[in-house]
Protein backbone atom coordinates (compact mmCIF):
# COMPACT_ATOMS: atom_id res chain seq x y z
CA UNK A 1 0.00 0.00 0.00
CA UNK A 2 1.22 3.48 -0.84
CA UNK A 3 1.41 5.93 2.05
CA UNK A 4 -0.63 9.15 1.95
CA UNK A 5 2.43 11.32 1.40
CA UNK A 6 3.60 8.97 -1.35
CA UNK A 7 0.22 9.28 -3.05
CA UNK A 8 0.26 13.07 -2.76
CA UNK A 9 3.74 13.37 -4.28
CA UNK A 10 2.78 10.94 -7.03
CA UNK A 11 -0.30 13.00 -7.92
CA UNK A 12 1.76 16.19 -7.71
CA UNK A 13 4.46 14.77 -9.99
CA UNK A 14 1.83 13.70 -12.50
CA UNK A 15 0.31 17.16 -12.44
CA UNK A 16 3.68 18.89 -12.93
CA UNK A 17 4.62 16.65 -15.81
CA UNK A 18 1.31 17.29 -17.58
CA UNK A 19 1.49 21.00 -16.82
CA UNK A 20 4.95 21.33 -18.35
CA UNK A 21 3.76 19.52 -21.47
CA UNK A 22 0.82 21.92 -21.74
CA UNK A 23 3.05 24.96 -21.17
CA UNK A 24 5.58 23.95 -23.84
CA UNK A 25 2.89 23.14 -26.41
CA UNK A 26 1.04 26.30 -25.47
CA UNK A 27 4.11 28.46 -26.00
CA UNK A 28 4.67 27.01 -29.44
CA UNK A 29 1.02 27.46 -30.42
CA UNK A 30 0.98 31.00 -29.06
CA UNK A 31 4.00 31.99 -31.17
CA UNK A 32 2.55 30.29 -34.23
CA UNK A 33 -0.87 31.88 -33.71
CA UNK A 34 0.65 35.34 -33.19
CA UNK A 35 2.75 34.95 -36.35
CA UNK A 36 -0.23 33.79 -38.39
CA UNK A 37 -2.49 36.58 -37.08
CA UNK A 38 -0.04 39.36 -37.82
CA UNK A 39 1.89 37.90 -40.73
CA UNK A 40 -0.65 36.05 -42.87
CA UNK A 41 -2.07 39.33 -44.16
CA UNK A 42 1.30 40.32 -45.61
CA UNK A 43 2.01 36.93 -47.16
CA UNK A 44 1.35 36.51 -50.88
CA UNK A 45 3.10 35.35 -54.06
CA UNK A 46 4.07 38.97 -54.75
CA UNK A 47 5.69 39.12 -51.33
CA UNK A 48 7.81 36.05 -52.12
CA UNK A 49 8.68 37.09 -55.66
CA UNK A 50 9.40 40.84 -55.33
CA UNK A 51 12.54 42.48 -54.01
CA UNK A 52 12.30 44.66 -50.90
CA UNK A 53 11.53 48.33 -51.45
CA UNK A 54 11.94 51.27 -49.06
CA UNK A 55 14.12 49.37 -46.55
CA UNK A 56 11.69 46.45 -46.62
CA UNK A 57 8.57 48.35 -45.60
CA UNK A 58 7.16 47.60 -49.02
CA UNK A 59 7.90 45.02 -51.66
CA UNK A 60 8.83 41.44 -50.89
CA UNK A 61 11.67 39.21 -49.83
CA UNK A 62 12.96 37.63 -53.06
CA UNK A 63 16.56 38.82 -52.67
CA UNK A 64 16.40 37.90 -48.99
CA UNK A 65 15.50 34.24 -49.43
CA UNK A 66 17.88 33.91 -52.37
CA UNK A 67 20.69 35.22 -50.12
CA UNK A 68 19.57 32.92 -47.32
CA UNK A 69 19.67 29.85 -49.56
CA UNK A 70 23.08 30.85 -50.94
CA UNK A 71 24.51 31.29 -47.44
CA UNK A 72 23.04 27.91 -46.46
CA UNK A 73 24.52 26.24 -49.56
CA UNK A 74 28.00 27.55 -48.82
CA UNK A 75 27.60 26.47 -45.20
CA UNK A 76 26.51 22.93 -46.06
CA UNK A 77 28.97 22.42 -48.91
CA UNK A 78 31.74 23.15 -46.41
CA UNK A 79 30.35 21.56 -43.27
CA UNK A 80 29.14 18.22 -44.67
CA UNK A 81 32.42 16.81 -46.00
CA UNK A 82 34.38 18.15 -43.02
CA UNK A 83 31.76 16.90 -40.56
CA UNK A 84 31.53 13.41 -42.03
CA UNK A 85 35.30 13.08 -42.13
CA UNK A 86 35.74 14.26 -38.54
CA UNK A 87 32.92 11.99 -37.37
CA UNK A 88 34.46 9.01 -39.13
CA UNK A 89 37.73 9.77 -37.40
CA UNK A 90 36.09 10.06 -33.98
CA UNK A 91 33.94 6.97 -34.41
CA UNK A 92 36.88 4.69 -34.01
CA UNK A 93 38.85 4.60 -37.19
CA UNK A 94 41.79 4.80 -34.87
CA UNK A 95 42.41 1.66 -32.85
CA UNK A 96 42.84 3.45 -29.56
CA UNK A 97 41.45 6.82 -28.58
CA UNK A 98 44.39 8.94 -29.71
CA UNK A 99 45.41 12.25 -28.18
CA UNK A 100 44.32 13.99 -31.35
CA UNK A 101 40.86 12.42 -31.12
CA UNK A 102 40.53 13.55 -27.51
CA UNK A 103 41.63 17.05 -28.40
CA UNK A 104 39.10 17.13 -31.23
CA UNK A 105 36.33 15.97 -28.91
CA UNK A 106 37.13 18.64 -26.32
CA UNK A 107 37.30 21.34 -28.99
CA UNK A 108 33.89 20.33 -30.27
CA UNK A 109 32.37 20.52 -26.80
CA UNK A 110 33.70 24.03 -26.34
CA UNK A 111 32.62 25.08 -29.83
CA UNK A 112 29.10 23.74 -29.31
CA UNK A 113 28.70 25.95 -26.24
CA UNK A 114 30.11 29.08 -27.89
CA UNK A 115 27.68 32.02 -28.24
CA UNK A 116 26.91 32.80 -31.87
CA UNK A 117 28.08 36.42 -31.54
CA UNK A 118 31.58 35.07 -30.89
CA UNK A 119 31.39 33.10 -34.11
CA UNK A 120 30.28 36.29 -35.84
CA UNK A 121 33.28 38.26 -34.59
CA UNK A 122 35.61 35.36 -35.38
CA UNK A 123 34.20 35.07 -38.90
CA UNK A 124 34.52 38.79 -39.36
CA UNK A 125 38.16 38.77 -38.26
CA UNK A 126 39.14 35.62 -40.20
CA UNK A 127 37.07 35.43 -43.38
CA UNK A 128 36.03 39.06 -43.91
CA UNK A 129 39.29 40.78 -42.92
CA UNK A 130 42.20 38.32 -42.93
CA UNK A 131 41.08 36.35 -46.01
CA UNK A 132 39.77 39.53 -47.63
CA UNK A 133 36.29 38.25 -48.36
CA UNK A 134 34.67 41.35 -46.87
CA UNK A 135 30.97 41.31 -46.10
CA UNK A 136 29.94 38.51 -48.40
CA UNK A 137 27.74 35.44 -48.69
CA UNK A 138 30.90 33.33 -48.81
CA UNK A 139 32.17 34.80 -45.57
CA UNK A 140 28.77 34.32 -43.88
CA UNK A 141 28.38 30.76 -45.15
CA UNK A 142 31.83 29.75 -43.93
CA UNK A 143 31.16 31.30 -40.51
CA UNK A 144 27.90 29.37 -40.26
CA UNK A 145 29.77 26.20 -41.25
CA UNK A 146 32.06 26.66 -38.23
CA UNK A 147 28.96 27.02 -36.11
CA UNK A 148 27.02 23.97 -37.29
CA UNK A 149 30.05 21.66 -37.42
CA UNK A 150 29.97 20.66 -33.73
CA UNK A 151 26.32 19.58 -33.92
CA UNK A 152 26.77 17.87 -37.25
CA UNK A 153 29.86 15.96 -36.14
CA UNK A 154 28.23 14.77 -32.95
CA UNK A 155 25.12 13.46 -34.69
CA UNK A 156 27.07 11.78 -37.49
CA UNK A 157 29.51 10.22 -35.03
CA UNK A 158 26.62 8.74 -33.03
CA UNK A 159 25.24 7.41 -36.28
CA UNK A 160 28.51 5.72 -37.22
CA UNK A 161 28.73 4.22 -33.76
CA UNK A 162 25.19 2.91 -34.05
CA UNK A 163 26.19 0.71 -36.99
CA UNK A 164 26.44 -2.74 -35.37
CA UNK A 165 29.98 -4.03 -34.95
CA UNK A 166 29.04 -7.24 -36.79
CA UNK A 167 28.98 -5.22 -40.02
CA UNK A 168 32.35 -3.65 -39.28
CA UNK A 169 33.87 -7.02 -38.45
CA UNK A 170 32.20 -8.55 -41.48
CA UNK A 171 33.47 -5.82 -43.76
CA UNK A 172 37.00 -6.08 -42.38
CA UNK A 173 36.95 -9.87 -42.74
CA UNK A 174 36.05 -9.41 -46.42
CA UNK A 175 39.20 -7.42 -46.97
CA UNK A 176 37.59 -3.99 -47.14
CA UNK A 177 40.03 -1.16 -46.58
CA UNK A 178 39.13 1.57 -44.13
CA UNK A 179 38.01 3.84 -46.95
CA UNK A 180 36.03 1.00 -48.49
CA UNK A 181 34.33 0.27 -45.18
CA UNK A 182 33.50 3.95 -44.73
CA UNK A 183 32.13 4.63 -48.21
CA UNK A 184 30.58 1.30 -49.09
CA UNK A 185 29.16 0.17 -45.74
CA UNK A 186 29.13 2.76 -42.96
CA UNK A 187 28.01 5.79 -44.99
CA UNK A 188 25.04 4.07 -46.68
CA UNK A 189 23.94 2.65 -43.32
CA UNK A 190 24.35 5.99 -41.55
CA UNK A 191 22.80 8.10 -44.30
CA UNK A 192 19.33 8.55 -42.73
CA UNK A 193 20.96 9.66 -39.49
CA UNK A 194 23.30 11.99 -41.32
CA UNK A 195 20.23 13.59 -42.91
CA UNK A 196 18.91 14.23 -39.42
CA UNK A 197 22.18 15.81 -38.32
CA UNK A 198 22.15 17.93 -41.43
CA UNK A 199 18.59 19.08 -40.78
CA UNK A 200 19.48 20.07 -37.22
CA UNK A 201 22.46 21.97 -38.55
CA UNK A 202 20.40 23.68 -41.23
CA UNK A 203 17.83 24.60 -38.61
CA UNK A 204 20.46 26.29 -36.51
CA UNK A 205 22.01 28.03 -39.51
CA UNK A 206 18.68 29.27 -40.87
CA UNK A 207 17.75 30.89 -37.60
CA UNK A 208 21.14 32.48 -37.10
CA UNK A 209 21.38 36.27 -36.89
CA UNK A 210 24.28 37.33 -34.73
CA UNK A 211 26.94 35.36 -36.62
CA UNK A 212 25.79 36.79 -39.95
CA UNK A 213 25.52 40.49 -39.15
CA UNK A 214 29.31 40.75 -39.04
CA UNK A 215 30.01 38.46 -41.97
CA UNK A 216 27.41 38.36 -44.72
CA UNK A 217 26.23 41.87 -43.92
CA UNK A 218 22.74 43.29 -44.39
CA UNK A 219 22.56 44.69 -47.89
CA UNK A 220 19.07 43.80 -49.13
CA UNK A 221 19.86 43.87 -52.87
CA UNK A 222 19.81 40.73 -54.97
CA UNK A 223 23.34 39.27 -54.72
CA UNK A 224 25.21 38.96 -58.02
CA UNK A 225 27.78 36.45 -56.78
CA UNK A 226 29.01 34.73 -53.63
CA UNK A 227 31.31 37.69 -53.04
CA UNK A 228 28.37 40.09 -52.70
CA UNK A 229 26.87 40.91 -49.37
CA UNK A 230 23.48 39.30 -48.78
CA UNK A 231 20.85 39.70 -46.09
CA UNK A 232 19.49 36.52 -44.52
CA UNK A 233 15.84 36.12 -43.47
CA UNK A 234 16.68 36.30 -39.80
CA UNK A 235 18.61 39.56 -40.22
CA UNK A 236 15.78 40.94 -42.33
CA UNK A 237 13.30 40.24 -39.52
CA UNK A 238 15.64 41.76 -36.96
CA UNK A 239 16.19 44.88 -39.07
CA UNK A 240 12.52 45.40 -39.92
CA UNK A 241 11.34 45.05 -36.36
CA UNK A 242 14.15 47.01 -34.68
CA UNK A 243 15.38 49.65 -37.12
CA UNK A 244 12.58 50.27 -39.61
CA UNK A 245 9.47 52.05 -38.31
CA UNK A 246 6.42 50.68 -40.11
CA UNK A 247 8.13 47.43 -41.02
CA UNK A 248 6.20 45.25 -38.60
CA UNK A 249 3.80 43.63 -41.04
CA UNK A 250 6.59 42.54 -43.38
CA UNK A 251 8.66 41.45 -40.38
CA UNK A 252 5.83 39.15 -39.31
CA UNK A 253 5.34 37.83 -42.84
CA UNK A 254 9.08 37.14 -43.14
CA UNK A 255 9.07 35.40 -39.77
CA UNK A 256 6.19 33.26 -40.98
CA UNK A 257 8.22 32.24 -44.04
CA UNK A 258 11.21 31.37 -41.81
CA UNK A 259 9.13 29.31 -39.39
CA UNK A 260 7.46 27.61 -42.34
CA UNK A 261 10.89 26.65 -43.74
CA UNK A 262 11.97 25.26 -40.37
CA UNK A 263 8.77 23.23 -40.05
CA UNK A 264 9.28 21.78 -43.53
CA UNK A 265 12.84 20.79 -42.60
CA UNK A 266 11.60 19.21 -39.40
CA UNK A 267 9.02 17.28 -41.39
CA UNK A 268 11.68 15.95 -43.74
CA UNK A 269 13.77 14.98 -40.72
CA UNK A 270 10.89 13.11 -39.17
CA UNK A 271 10.39 11.23 -42.42
CA UNK A 272 14.07 10.33 -42.57
CA UNK A 273 13.91 9.11 -38.96
CA UNK A 274 10.92 6.95 -39.77
CA UNK A 275 12.75 5.45 -42.71
CA UNK A 276 15.76 4.83 -40.55
CA UNK A 277 13.86 2.64 -38.14
CA UNK A 278 12.12 0.61 -40.81
CA UNK A 279 15.30 0.42 -42.88
CA UNK A 280 17.23 -1.23 -40.06
CA UNK A 281 14.52 -3.76 -39.32
CA UNK A 282 15.76 -7.31 -39.32
CA UNK A 283 13.72 -10.01 -40.98
Amino acid sequence: MMSTSGRVSSVLAGFLIRASAVIVTGLFLWILFDLLRQGLGGLSWEFLLADPVNAGREGGIRSIWVSTLLILSVCMATAVPLGVAAAAYLAGFTREESNLAQLLRRSLEVLAAMPSIVFGLFGNALFSKLFGMGFSILSGGLTLACMVLPILIRVVEEEFRAVPSEFRMGAAALGLSRAGMLFRVLLPLALPGITVGLALGVGRALAETAALIFTSGYVDRMPGSLFDSGRSLSIHIFDLSMNVPGGDTNAYASALVLVGLLLIINGITAMAMGKRFTGRKRA
Binding site: R95, F167, M169, A172, G175, L176, V185
Partner: protein
Protein backbone atom coordinates in the same frame (compact mmCIF):
# COMPACT_ATOMS: atom_id res chain seq x y z
CA UNK B 1 64.25 -37.25 -32.14
CA UNK B 2 61.22 -37.73 -34.32
CA UNK B 3 62.05 -34.31 -35.70
CA UNK B 4 64.44 -35.69 -38.27
CA UNK B 5 61.95 -38.10 -39.70
CA UNK B 6 59.47 -35.33 -40.51
CA UNK B 7 59.68 -35.04 -44.31
CA UNK B 8 58.15 -31.59 -44.64
CA UNK B 9 60.78 -30.17 -42.36
CA UNK B 10 63.82 -32.21 -43.19
CA UNK B 11 64.79 -30.19 -46.22
CA UNK B 12 64.24 -26.89 -44.57
CA UNK B 13 60.62 -26.63 -45.72
CA UNK B 14 59.04 -23.22 -46.18
CA UNK B 15 60.02 -22.15 -42.68
CA UNK B 16 63.27 -20.67 -41.41
CA UNK B 17 65.48 -22.70 -39.15
CA UNK B 18 64.60 -21.07 -35.82
CA UNK B 19 60.92 -21.45 -36.60
CA UNK B 20 61.42 -25.21 -36.62
CA UNK B 21 62.95 -25.20 -33.16
CA UNK B 22 59.63 -24.15 -31.70
CA UNK B 23 56.90 -26.16 -30.02
CA UNK B 24 54.95 -25.81 -33.28
CA UNK B 25 57.19 -28.45 -34.65
CA UNK B 26 56.80 -30.72 -31.68
CA UNK B 27 53.03 -30.60 -32.02
CA UNK B 28 53.31 -31.36 -35.69
CA UNK B 29 55.46 -34.42 -35.15
CA UNK B 30 53.27 -35.64 -32.32
CA UNK B 31 49.93 -35.61 -34.03
CA UNK B 32 50.10 -34.20 -37.51
CA UNK B 33 50.15 -36.52 -40.51
CA UNK B 34 53.50 -35.91 -42.04
CA UNK B 35 52.40 -36.05 -45.66
CA UNK B 36 50.09 -32.99 -45.60
CA UNK B 37 51.69 -29.59 -46.00
CA UNK B 38 50.50 -27.08 -43.44
CA UNK B 39 48.47 -24.09 -44.53
CA UNK B 40 48.45 -22.34 -41.18
CA UNK B 41 50.76 -22.51 -38.26
CA UNK B 42 50.89 -20.81 -34.91
CA UNK B 43 53.92 -20.82 -32.65
CA UNK B 44 53.81 -19.97 -28.99
CA UNK B 45 50.79 -17.78 -29.67
CA UNK B 46 49.26 -15.89 -26.73
CA UNK B 47 46.48 -13.33 -26.61
CA UNK B 48 45.39 -10.83 -23.96
CA UNK B 49 42.33 -8.65 -23.60
CA UNK B 50 43.81 -5.85 -21.52
CA UNK B 51 45.59 -7.68 -18.68
CA UNK B 52 43.48 -10.79 -18.96
CA UNK B 53 45.00 -13.65 -20.94
CA UNK B 54 42.51 -15.41 -23.26
CA UNK B 55 44.87 -18.22 -24.26
CA UNK B 56 48.56 -18.85 -23.79
CA UNK B 57 51.33 -20.48 -25.77
CA UNK B 58 49.33 -22.23 -28.45
CA UNK B 59 51.47 -23.95 -31.05
CA UNK B 60 49.71 -25.88 -33.79
CA UNK B 61 49.65 -26.67 -37.47
CA UNK B 62 46.64 -26.84 -39.71
CA UNK B 63 46.83 -29.15 -42.69
CA UNK B 64 46.19 -27.81 -46.16
CA UNK B 65 42.87 -28.77 -47.73
CA UNK B 66 41.65 -30.34 -44.50
CA UNK B 67 38.94 -29.48 -42.02
CA UNK B 68 40.26 -28.77 -38.55
CA UNK B 69 37.77 -28.43 -35.71
CA UNK B 70 38.49 -26.41 -32.58
CA UNK B 71 36.50 -27.80 -29.65
CA UNK B 72 36.35 -27.14 -25.94
CA UNK B 73 34.23 -25.33 -23.38
CA UNK B 74 33.18 -21.68 -23.75
CA UNK B 75 35.69 -19.00 -22.83
CA UNK B 76 38.85 -20.97 -23.45
CA UNK B 77 39.97 -18.82 -26.36
CA UNK B 78 38.88 -20.77 -29.45
CA UNK B 79 37.24 -17.84 -31.23
CA UNK B 80 40.03 -15.48 -30.21
CA UNK B 81 42.55 -17.97 -31.59
CA UNK B 82 40.65 -18.09 -34.87
CA UNK B 83 40.61 -14.30 -35.21
CA UNK B 84 44.41 -14.16 -35.03
CA UNK B 85 44.75 -15.80 -38.45
CA UNK B 86 43.13 -12.89 -40.31
CA UNK B 87 44.24 -10.26 -37.77
CA UNK B 88 40.65 -9.33 -36.98
CA UNK B 89 42.05 -8.96 -33.46
CA UNK B 90 43.33 -5.59 -34.69
CA UNK B 91 39.78 -4.28 -34.51
CA UNK B 92 39.32 -5.13 -30.84
CA UNK B 93 40.65 -2.40 -28.62
CA UNK B 94 42.93 -3.56 -25.83
CA UNK B 95 43.66 -6.85 -27.58
CA UNK B 96 47.33 -7.90 -27.70
CA UNK B 97 48.82 -10.89 -29.49
CA UNK B 98 52.33 -12.32 -29.17
CA UNK B 99 54.04 -15.25 -30.84
CA UNK B 100 54.14 -16.21 -34.50
CA UNK B 101 51.54 -17.09 -37.08
CA UNK B 102 52.17 -18.22 -40.59
CA UNK B 103 49.66 -18.37 -43.40
CA UNK B 104 51.44 -20.13 -46.23
CA UNK B 105 54.86 -18.56 -45.99
CA UNK B 106 53.71 -15.14 -44.72
CA UNK B 107 54.39 -13.92 -41.23
CA UNK B 108 50.91 -12.71 -40.22
CA UNK B 109 51.81 -10.74 -37.11
CA UNK B 110 54.60 -8.83 -38.81
CA UNK B 111 53.94 -5.10 -38.96
CA UNK B 112 54.63 -5.02 -42.69
CA UNK B 113 51.89 -7.55 -43.45
CA UNK B 114 49.16 -6.13 -45.66
CA UNK B 115 46.10 -7.08 -43.60
CA UNK B 116 43.67 -6.22 -46.40
CA UNK B 117 45.19 -8.76 -48.77
CA UNK B 118 45.63 -11.23 -45.90
CA UNK B 119 41.91 -11.06 -45.17
CA UNK B 120 41.12 -11.73 -48.81
CA UNK B 121 43.15 -14.93 -48.62
CA UNK B 122 41.75 -15.91 -45.24
CA UNK B 123 37.96 -15.63 -45.25
CA UNK B 124 35.88 -15.67 -42.09
CA UNK B 125 32.33 -16.67 -41.20
CA UNK B 126 30.80 -15.53 -37.93
CA UNK B 127 28.46 -17.20 -35.47
CA UNK B 128 25.64 -14.79 -36.24
CA UNK B 129 25.04 -14.45 -39.98
CA UNK B 130 26.06 -10.90 -40.93
CA UNK B 131 25.00 -10.09 -44.47
CA UNK B 132 25.10 -6.34 -45.06
CA UNK B 133 21.57 -4.94 -44.80
CA UNK B 134 21.53 -4.25 -48.53
CA UNK B 135 20.39 -6.31 -51.50
CA UNK B 136 21.78 -9.79 -52.10
CA UNK B 137 23.52 -8.50 -55.23
CA UNK B 138 25.13 -5.61 -53.34
CA UNK B 139 26.52 -8.04 -50.75
CA UNK B 140 28.73 -9.41 -53.51
CA UNK B 141 29.40 -6.13 -55.29
CA UNK B 142 30.91 -4.49 -52.22
CA UNK B 143 33.76 -6.94 -51.58
CA UNK B 144 34.32 -7.67 -55.28
CA UNK B 145 34.60 -4.00 -56.23
CA UNK B 146 36.94 -3.46 -53.29
CA UNK B 147 38.96 -6.32 -54.71
CA UNK B 148 39.34 -4.57 -58.05
CA UNK B 149 36.64 -6.45 -59.97
CA UNK B 150 34.40 -3.78 -61.44
CA UNK B 151 33.05 -5.24 -64.72
CA UNK B 152 29.35 -5.95 -64.27
CA UNK B 153 29.58 -9.19 -66.24
CA UNK B 154 32.40 -10.47 -64.05
CA UNK B 155 30.57 -9.57 -60.86
CA UNK B 156 27.40 -11.31 -62.03
CA UNK B 157 29.33 -14.39 -63.04
CA UNK B 158 31.20 -14.65 -59.74
CA UNK B 159 28.02 -13.97 -57.77
CA UNK B 160 26.21 -16.79 -59.55
CA UNK B 161 29.10 -19.24 -59.19
CA UNK B 162 29.51 -18.43 -55.49
CA UNK B 163 25.80 -18.77 -54.80
CA UNK B 164 25.70 -22.07 -56.70
CA UNK B 165 28.60 -23.44 -54.66
CA UNK B 166 26.58 -23.01 -51.47
CA UNK B 167 23.37 -24.28 -53.09
CA UNK B 168 21.62 -20.94 -52.77
CA UNK B 169 21.41 -19.88 -56.41
CA UNK B 170 18.07 -21.52 -57.22
CA UNK B 171 16.53 -20.12 -54.07
CA UNK B 172 17.52 -16.50 -54.70
CA UNK B 173 18.17 -16.06 -58.43
CA UNK B 174 14.85 -14.29 -58.97
CA UNK B 175 15.30 -11.85 -56.12
CA UNK B 176 18.90 -10.71 -56.16
CA UNK B 177 17.64 -7.17 -55.75
CA UNK B 178 15.79 -7.97 -52.52
CA UNK B 179 17.28 -7.27 -49.12
CA UNK B 180 19.55 -10.00 -47.82
CA UNK B 181 17.80 -9.60 -44.47
CA UNK B 182 14.64 -11.12 -45.91
CA UNK B 183 16.40 -14.48 -46.19
CA UNK B 184 16.06 -17.09 -43.44
CA UNK B 185 18.90 -17.51 -40.94
CA UNK B 186 20.32 -20.57 -42.72
CA UNK B 187 20.12 -18.83 -46.09
CA UNK B 188 21.83 -15.76 -44.64
CA UNK B 189 24.68 -17.91 -43.33
CA UNK B 190 25.08 -19.62 -46.69
CA UNK B 191 25.04 -16.20 -48.34
CA UNK B 192 27.87 -15.12 -46.04
CA UNK B 193 29.87 -18.22 -46.94
CA UNK B 194 29.22 -17.59 -50.65
CA UNK B 195 30.30 -13.98 -50.18
CA UNK B 196 33.55 -15.11 -48.55
CA UNK B 197 34.12 -17.69 -51.30
CA UNK B 198 33.61 -15.05 -54.00
CA UNK B 199 37.04 -13.65 -53.12
CA UNK B 200 38.62 -17.07 -53.79
CA UNK B 201 40.28 -17.44 -50.39
CA UNK B 202 42.74 -20.20 -49.55
CA UNK B 203 41.53 -20.56 -46.01
CA UNK B 204 38.10 -20.30 -44.42
CA UNK B 205 37.74 -19.62 -40.71
CA UNK B 206 34.32 -20.51 -39.35
CA UNK B 207 33.32 -19.41 -35.87
CA UNK B 208 30.45 -21.65 -34.76
CA UNK B 209 28.67 -21.16 -38.07
CA UNK B 210 25.71 -23.41 -37.22
CA UNK B 211 25.06 -22.55 -33.59
CA UNK B 212 22.68 -19.65 -34.31
CA UNK B 213 20.64 -21.76 -36.74
CA UNK B 214 17.86 -24.28 -36.22
CA UNK B 215 18.92 -27.94 -36.51
CA UNK B 216 17.70 -28.39 -40.10
CA UNK B 217 19.29 -25.18 -41.42
CA UNK B 218 22.41 -26.04 -39.40
CA UNK B 219 22.52 -29.45 -41.05
CA UNK B 220 22.36 -27.89 -44.52
CA UNK B 221 25.20 -25.52 -43.67
CA UNK B 222 27.21 -28.37 -42.14
CA UNK B 223 26.88 -30.51 -45.28
CA UNK B 224 27.97 -27.54 -47.31
CA UNK B 225 31.07 -27.06 -45.15
CA UNK B 226 32.02 -30.74 -45.57
CA UNK B 227 31.87 -30.12 -49.31
CA UNK B 228 34.52 -27.41 -49.02
CA UNK B 229 37.18 -29.92 -48.04
CA UNK B 230 40.20 -30.26 -50.34
CA UNK B 231 39.40 -27.05 -52.22
CA UNK B 232 39.84 -24.94 -49.11
CA UNK B 233 41.62 -25.20 -45.82
CA UNK B 234 38.87 -24.98 -43.23
CA UNK B 235 39.20 -24.19 -39.54
CA UNK B 236 35.93 -24.41 -37.64
CA UNK B 237 35.14 -23.59 -34.03
CA UNK B 238 32.29 -25.71 -32.74
CA UNK B 239 30.69 -26.61 -29.44
CA UNK B 240 29.10 -29.58 -31.03
CA UNK B 241 31.38 -32.61 -30.58
CA UNK B 242 29.20 -34.74 -32.82
CA UNK B 243 29.59 -32.15 -35.55
CA UNK B 244 33.35 -32.10 -35.12
CA UNK B 245 33.40 -35.88 -35.39
CA UNK B 246 31.22 -35.85 -38.53
CA UNK B 247 33.06 -33.25 -40.57
CA UNK B 248 36.58 -32.76 -39.22
CA UNK B 249 39.78 -34.49 -40.32
CA UNK B 250 41.58 -33.15 -37.33
CA UNK B 251 40.55 -31.86 -33.93
CA UNK B 252 42.20 -29.40 -31.57
CA UNK B 253 40.97 -29.52 -27.97
CA UNK B 254 41.14 -26.29 -25.96
CA UNK B 255 40.74 -26.24 -22.20
CA UNK B 256 40.98 -23.79 -19.32
CA UNK B 257 44.23 -24.11 -17.41
CA UNK B 258 45.05 -21.79 -14.53
CA UNK B 259 42.40 -19.32 -15.59
CA UNK B 260 43.29 -19.10 -19.23
CA UNK B 261 42.80 -21.14 -22.36
CA UNK B 262 45.35 -23.54 -23.73
CA UNK B 263 45.58 -26.23 -26.38
CA UNK B 264 45.69 -29.57 -24.61
CA UNK B 265 45.64 -31.95 -27.55
CA UNK B 266 45.64 -32.01 -31.32
CA UNK B 267 45.24 -35.04 -33.52
CA UNK B 268 43.32 -36.93 -36.17
CA UNK B 269 39.60 -36.98 -35.45
CA UNK B 270 39.50 -40.76 -34.95
CA UNK B 271 42.45 -40.67 -32.59
CA UNK B 272 40.97 -37.83 -30.50
CA UNK B 273 37.64 -39.60 -30.11
CA UNK B 274 38.84 -43.19 -29.82
CA UNK B 275 42.29 -43.03 -28.27
CA UNK B 276 42.77 -39.63 -26.67
CA UNK B 277 46.21 -39.14 -25.11
CA UNK B 278 45.14 -36.54 -22.59
CA UNK B 279 42.98 -37.50 -19.64
CA UNK B 280 40.89 -34.33 -19.92
CA UNK B 281 40.31 -34.96 -23.62
CA UNK B 282 39.16 -38.46 -22.80
CA UNK B 283 36.73 -37.17 -20.19
CA UNK B 284 35.52 -34.42 -22.52
CA UNK B 285 34.86 -36.54 -25.62
CA UNK B 286 33.15 -39.18 -23.51
CA UNK B 287 30.83 -36.58 -22.08
CA UNK B 288 32.19 -36.89 -18.55
CA UNK B 289 33.43 -33.30 -18.53
CA UNK B 290 32.71 -30.05 -20.33
Amino acid sequence: MITDSHPSHRNGGPYPEDFLETPCHAVASAGHPSDTPSALCSTNLSLWYGDKPAFQAVSAMVGKGRITALVGPSGCGKSSYLMCFNRLTDLISGCRVTGHIRVGSDDVLDNSTDVVSLRRRVGMIFQKPNPFPFSIRRNFEIPLKENGISERMDIEEITEASLRSVGLWNEVKDRLGASALNLSGGQQQRLCIARALSLKPEVLLLDEPCSALDPIAGGVVEDMISGLKERYTVVIVTHNLAQARRIADEVMVFWMREGCGSLIEQGETAQIFEAPRDAITAAYVNGVRG
